[in-house]
Every structure is written in C-alpha cells, then in structure tokens.
Amino acid sequence: MVFYPITRLSLLTITTPPNKSMKPSIAMLLGLFVLISVTTSRAQYSPHVDTTGAKRGPYNLVITVGGGISYYPKHIGIPATLEQTNNGRWGVPFTIRAMWYPDHRLLAGIETGWTTLYSYRGRVNGERARVYVSGVPMLLVFSMPLAWLSGTERRLTRRLAITGGTGAYLINSRLNYQGIVDAQEISIGWMVAGSYVQPVGRRVRIATELKWLNATATQDADFSLQLQLLWRAFSW
C-alpha cells in the first residue's frame, strides 16, 4: 500500500493580490495549465511506480478538512451614503476537499467550504446598516506534490505541493438595513494554493496551506492561511 507523502509548495508570487487593473481571465487558467503541464511532465517519472505497466494502482481517496484565517485584500465599495463606517476584512474560512490519489503525482478532486469575504457597517440617518458577504467555493482542483524534486523524502521541499482549481463560487450577501435581505449569486472563479504536509501517521497528515480564492464575476478574492488534516479514507 502506497500513500504518497502529500507535499505542497507555498506560492507567494501567485497569492500576491493583483492590482486593480488586473483581472483574472482565461489567460490565468491557461498559465496555470502550462504550469501544471510542465510539472506533470517531469513528475511522471517515479523510480517506484511503473504507470505504463498493466498493473496499476494502488489508488487512494484522501479527505482534507481545514480552517484558519482569511484576509480580503480587494476594494470593498462602501456606499458614500453611510456614515461612521467600518469594515471587516478578516474571516475564519473552512475547507473540505476530496482528492483522488492515483499512481502518478497529478492529483484531482473537488473542493468546497466556506469563507467570509468581507463586511461593512455604518449608519444612515442614525439608523444602523450592515452588509456581510461570504463565499462557498465549488471547485474542480488539481494538485501536484513536488516529490520529483531531488533529495530524500525527508527534505522539506519534497513535502511541498501546489494546488490549483477552477469552478464557481456561491456568493452570499446579507443586508441588514430596514429589514434583512439575503441574496445569492453564482460567480465563476479559480483558486491557487501552496502547502506543506507533515506525516503524523499511516493514514493521517497535517498540512499548512496558503490559498488565494478568486471569484471573477463579483471581483472578490480571499487570501487564507489554513491548518488542515488529511485523512486517507479509502484505498483500492
């Protein structure tokens, strides 16, 4: 039974918030695809597994759950009609991910969760008003442990990985002013992440992940640092 060390890489260059004139686009996903393609082509080589042989496997399904803190770096857009305003950019995100670990190193899976994006509050003619915006990612994700880097399994860099995904975000907004209005919107979007994974048992790993979530249509983004638990749920 092989359970590859799940290693991840922090991609600080990608997680730097883009300036206002930059918008994520298909080009961004294309770049990500190129990145994954390049790393995949190198990663197909493994001294331990013959992926061209008749006997394939073993395969694993790994469930990841995690949480941490998030920061909303983009423009919020508090209406000028509000007085005594303040805003909240920090949140407590939650992630759940199911990944298929095949007998090569490009992993695929799905991810969802929940994150606070931002909130703001103020007063309108003395009356309190508050807007709260959160997002639920619904993403198809791919991950590539950087185990193809040279060195021993104990090298820190071999426990790094990059993860990227695309899909949709369910953006929830709640207005509390002269009544409560809950509304939802679907936005296309993407995600990139880098992480480090520490083995703690035969079926369990602990990871730290830096993640950039980006909902394109609503111009929302979220930078988060999460502590995650990885559990190998099934093997076949």
């Binding site: 390049v38 919020i76 207005l175």
Partner: protein, 422 residues
C-alpha cells in the same frame, strides 16, 4: 532541480502576466459648462445650421458627409442648446455646446466613436462661403452663400489640431421617423459618461440622436417601479457594494441607500424618469419595457399621469407600455381599466391585433417582413423594430422606408442614416 524551479517560476510569471487585461475607458475630454441661453445663435441661425454637410477635411475619420442637428434640454425657464453631428463611421458623433465667450458663432465640445473608445475635443466656427472666401457668418447672408462649419478636432493629443471642414449640402430629411434609444439613451458598456437607465442618460439621449427612449421597468420589493435592465444586481451595471440578487428583493430605500449605477447615479424611479422626459427634454416617445411580473397598475398610473402632464404642457409626447412576453400581456390584461393605456406588442401580428395594440414591434432579425408591416400600417398601427445596431441593416431598413422607427443602442447611426436619406 534548478530547471524545475525555472519552469515553475516561468509558469507563475506567465499566469500573472497573461492575466492582465486592458480596461477600456472613454472619459469625456471636454468640460461642458451647460450654460443656459443661446448666445449669438438665435433661433433662426440654429434652424439654418440644421442640415446635411459634406466633409472636406476629416473625411477619413468621419466619412464624406455628416448630419448636424440642434437639440436642447430645459431646466425650468433655462434652456441649454447643444449641436450634435452624426457621422456614419463607427457610430461617431460630436456633442458641442455654444461658446458664449467667443466673438463669433462658435461651438466646442467633443467627438466620440461608440464602437471603440476613441474620443477627442473639437471646436467649430460658423462661416459663410462667398465667392470662394470664408467669412464669419452673422446671420445675414446672400442667396449664393454656403454655410461652412470650419473647425478642428483632436485625435488624442489633448488639443484640437486636425482641421475639419463641413460644407452645407441640403436640409435634414424631414420624414417622420422614431429614433428610439435603448436603455434610456445608450448602454453602460459603450462607455458613455452616463449610466444606462439613469436620469442623466435620458437628458443626453437627444444629443446622441434619439427622439425617444426605451426604459426598462422593474418593481422593487415595496412595489416602486424603477429602471434597471438586468435580472440581477451585477458589476456590469452597478458599482461594487456587496449586494447581489434581484431588484425586487430590495425596497426602494435600500436601493437608494446602497446601490449606485456605474457612473455614480442612483437607480431612478420610473416617476423620476418620466418627470425628466416631460420637464427637461424634447423627447417625443417613451417605450416602457415591462421587465416585471405582477400587477401593471402602478406603471399604468404613471403612464397616464405623465401623458396628461405632457399634453397640458403642449408636448407631443407618447408614453407607451411595451409588452415583450406573454407574462407582460397577462399583467396588462389584468388591469381593471385599459382606457388611455397605449401599448406596444413585441409578439406576433395576431396577438398585436388581439390586444388592439397601437404599435407592433418585431425583432429586427425577423427581417423586413414587408407584407406584415404594410398590413399593420394599413390598420393604423406604427411598426418599430428592435434592437438594431448593425449599420448595414439600419441603412437598409431606413432606405426601404417600411418601418416607422428603430430601437437601437446606437441612435447616432440611426440618426445619420435617417437624416441623410434623400
């Protein structure tokens, strides 16, 4: 190892670099004073200026001929006059105001092409051509004189330096024809300096070539009819504020407090919009596009009130309720009293006849439909097509002369082809 990191870095840089997308903007390069009064441009001179002109300098940019037409807006007793020039090239137009500081008959403003973001300043002086000589025009002229608009336009340098000369050819085509501007005057996506379905764009509609406007009507949660086109609040039409969902999820007060259109305007109520049309513009047609489900009584009440106000003010204004769907027709049929409620039907001719609609408005992609159009016109109905933005078909439909009007996002193109038709 080093090679791997190189590829990784290359991928990241490519991803970020390729994701930079140009944001298009077309800010108006001229600061309008909107000063009331007509200065030296008396009513007689303004009438003289209206017409089709040959372009001798600047034709590569704006075509061989253009149409010039004065428009105005009212604010109480104050009237602001504007001169528009409609070009057949790339939905180009000039919007010019009277230069009241000048000693001569002069106008200044800007030009814009709606199909791209090109724009620049422009200014012209009105002159008379006599025996080959250009003389300042004073309103007094000989029969052999020819009017000339002599001026300059800017191609992005910041000051008008390109010469442009317009020589009077003939009067504007006087045939009655409705040029109806979509979404109150034009789309937000065409980078106009006012947002679609705003009070500001309604005031600008005439300058853009329109005789009438189409307004998209929806209800707020507390049943106030307001103007908004899309199904949901989105960043295409409103500034970022965190709110999402449909217009009818919010009360008018909530929208007024939290939502601003792209250029900073409030979402107007239908009443504010109709009041602007009646009190501030010369528009003669309003098409209320029913984008709501439910009772139509409030819209009908406003339609009747402002049709009556326009009549009392001596205005030749028609406010029509448009019925684009079977749901809208059901809303109309649910009205307790349909008297004094002119309607426009976008469905087939049988439905239009069944409703006794005043106007039939088929989709332009259905083609000229000459037989149907002639039959409806013979029954006393007007026939408009929507939403026609293709230059080739605007020219064709106006040339064929079947339709009574065209609804377009590019009213300046429709104006050009209508006014220059002989």
């Amino acid at each position: 190892m080093k090679r791997a990191w190189f590829y990784l870095l290359l991928g990241v840089v490519s991803a970020i670099g390729l994701s930079c997308r140009t944001e298009y903007e077309a800010p108006v390069p001229y600061d309008f004073s909107d000063k009331p009064g007509s200065g030296k441009f008396t009513s007689a001179i303004r009438r003289t200026v209206d017409g089709v002109y040959a372009v001798s300098n600047g034709s590569t940019e704006f075509g061989n001929q253009v149409a010039l037409r004065w428009t105005y807006t009212h604010d109480g007793v104050d009237t602001v006059h504007s001169l528009s020039i409609f070009s057949g090239v790339s939905a180009g137009f000039f919007s010019l105001e009277i230069n009241q500081q000048a000693d001569s008959l002069a106008v200044s403003g800007f030009w814009r092409k709606l199909v791209n973001a090109s724009t620049g300043q422009a200014h012209f002086s009105l002159k008379a051509k006599r025996n080959g000589q250009l003389l300042p025009y004073t309103g007094q002229s000989l029969e052999s004189d020819t009017l000339v608009m002599d001026g300059y336009y800017d191609t992005g340098t910041g000051s008008p330096q390109q010469k442009m000369t317009l020589t009077y050819l003939r009067p504007l085509n006087p045939a009655p024809f409705e040029i109806i501007a979509h979404r109150g005057g034009g789309r937000t996506s065409d980078l106009l300096n006012a947002s679609e379905n705003s009070v500001r764009i309604i005031r600008l509609a005439s300058r853009l070539g329109a005789h009438g406007v189409e307004l998209d009507v929806q209800y707020t949660k507390d049943s106030i009819p307001v103007l908004y086109h899309d199904n949901k609040l989105n960043l295409r039409l409103v500034q970022k504020n965190g709110l999402s969902g449909t217009i009818n999820q919010y009360t008018y007060q909530q929208l007024k407090t939290f939502v601003r259109l792209i250029n900073g305007e409030e979402i107007p109520t239908l009443e504010q919009a109709l009041q602007t049309v009646v009190d501030n513009t010369e528009l003669d047609f309003v098409w209320l596009d029913s984008k709501f489900n439910g009772p139509m009584a409030r819209v009908q009440a406003l339609q009747q009130r402002y049709n009556e106000r326009a009549r009392q003010a001596g205005r030749n204004l028609r406010i029509i309720i448009g019925l684009p769907s079977t749901e809208a027709i059901a809303s109309y049929q649910g009205l307790a009293n349909k008297a004094n409620t002119p309607i426009l039907c976008e469905l087939d001719t049988a439905t239009t006849r069944g409703l006794s609609a005043n106007i039939w408005a088929p989709r332009w992609t259905l083609g000229p439909q000459t037989d149907e159009v002639n039959a409806m016109k013979a029954e006393g109905r007007d026939v408009f097509v929507w939403t026609l933005d293709e230059t080739q078909f605007i020219e064709q439909f106006i040339g064929e002369g079947n339709f009574n009007g065209i609804l377009s996002n590019y009213s300046s193109i429709v104006a050009y082809y209508h006014y220059t038709t002989q």
